[in-house]
């Protein structure tokens, strides 16, 4: 393969490449295994702290005796937070142990299907749990708990705008995930 019209042998060319790196030693592998376990533990702690922060954040609304709707809404959002954290924990379990038991095309299809299903279902397990609580909070603000320093009309406009922004954010998240799922579905069909 030096400009001469000789046979091009891609297999020999490919296999003749020199190695650039030494393989990982067993000591390095064991260190990495321990680091993975630590990472998983730290991630779990972060999730628990995030839950505690959200629960603490909605506690003032929970203590709003003037508005049972806001109390109920705060309680529902706390429950939704714990539910979503559990779902994230369940779905994003520490790198599953790799498998060589399935043929590559089956494993590839399974991975695409797993990712597609995660994106498709994001509305159900990530967004929907928060909707009842958010709705009750907004209704509670509208009917039972006006901002004392503000005219009611202005308060209502702010509530409408806040609701619209939250709804828009939820819609965008849902649409982006559906688009991603559609792209993956196309690739699954091409297999």
């Amino acid at each position: 393969m030096s400009g001469e019209p000789s046979d091009f042998d891609p297999q020999s060319l490919w296999q003749s490449q020199a190695m650039e790196h030494d393989p990982m030693t067993l000591a390095q592998i064991h260190t990495k295994a321990q680091a993975l376990q630590s990472r998983v533990r730290r991630r779990n702690v972060r999730e628990y702290i995030a839950c505690v922060v959200v629960v603490a954040g909605f506690t003032p609304a929970l203590l709003q005796r003037a508005s049972w709707m806001m109390q109920a809404g705060a309680l529902l959002i706390m429950a939704a937070t714990i539910f979503v954290a559990w779902q994230l924990h369940r779905r994003g379990a520490a790198q599953p142990v790799p498998e060589g038991g399935d043929a590559l095309i089956a494993a590839y299809r399974e991975e695409l299907v797993r990712q597609r299903d995660a994106l498709r279902s994001v509305g159900a397990w990530y967004l929907a749990p928060f909707v009842p609580g958010m709705a009750l909070l907004m209704l509670g603000r509208w009917f039972q708990s006006h901002a004392a320093h503000r005219p009611v009309g202005v308060d209502h406009i702010i509530i409408i705008l806040s609701t619209a922004i939250v709804a828009l954010v939820f819609l965008v998240i849902w649409l982006l995930n559906q688009r991603g799922a559609d792209r993956l579905q196309k690739r699954i069909e091409e297999l």
Partner: protein, 184 residues
């Protein structure tokens, strides 16, 4: 009892890994080159493959050969890596059929010597544009595996593998055939 079992599994994992690396270190590094162009990310990928192999041996049941297991775990790990990068880089991957009309948009390396190094760079670049199923078949072919073994690893019939290899040779002839050289 549980502790003794765990120790046995760990020892077996270590033995399998040591054996795998002794025979397949070169193939795994070539595989990582075919899946990742960036040198830093390539080293990360290679280490990810080594680690995945070691972890996988905890589940190796001997129903397939060790070589089949190793290639499957390595390719699955690399394919997951590419899937993650695709989302980040928005790179479109092609099939073997589309590769015939592929034009590399990158500029040729002016310092690359003519001949084998340039041919290898071009071959690697072409492989990196392939979508997963075709890339896996091509790489296993380049490692010298027989059609039956490739089919076993990939889950394809030997006939389907032979068709893809034939297609690959046609594409390589087209892409590299400046002086009338045939692809072996």
């Amino acid at each position: 009892m549980g502790g003794a079992n765990q120790t046995n599994v760990a020892a077996s994992q270590d033995e399998h890994y040591t054996r795998a690396i002794a025979s397949f270190a070169g193939a795994l590094e070539r595989l990582s080159r075919a899946y990742e162009a960036d040198p830093d990310e390539r080293l990360d990928l290679l280490q990810e493959i080594h680690f995945a192999l070691w972890r996988s041996f905890a589940r190796f049941d001997g129903l397939c050969s060790e070589a089949t297991w190793i290639y499957r775990v390595a390719h699955n790990t690399a394919t997951s890596h590419v899937l993650k990068q695709e989302r980040r880089r928005r790179q479109k991957l092609v099939t073997l059929d589309e590769l015939a009309t592929y034009r590399d948009p990158t500029q040729p390396d002016p310092e690359a010597e003519a001949g084998d190094r340039q041919a290898l760079a071009k071959l690697t670049s072409l492989i990196r544009t392939l979508a997963a199923p075709d890339r896996q078949v091509v790489l296993l072919y380049l490692e010298g595996l027989a059609a039956g073994d490739i089919g076993d690893i990939c889950g394809l019939s030997p006939g389907a593998v032979a068709t893809k290899v034939h297609r690959l040779k046609a594409v390589l002839s087209q892409q590299f055939n400046k002086g009338g050289a045939r692809v072996r």
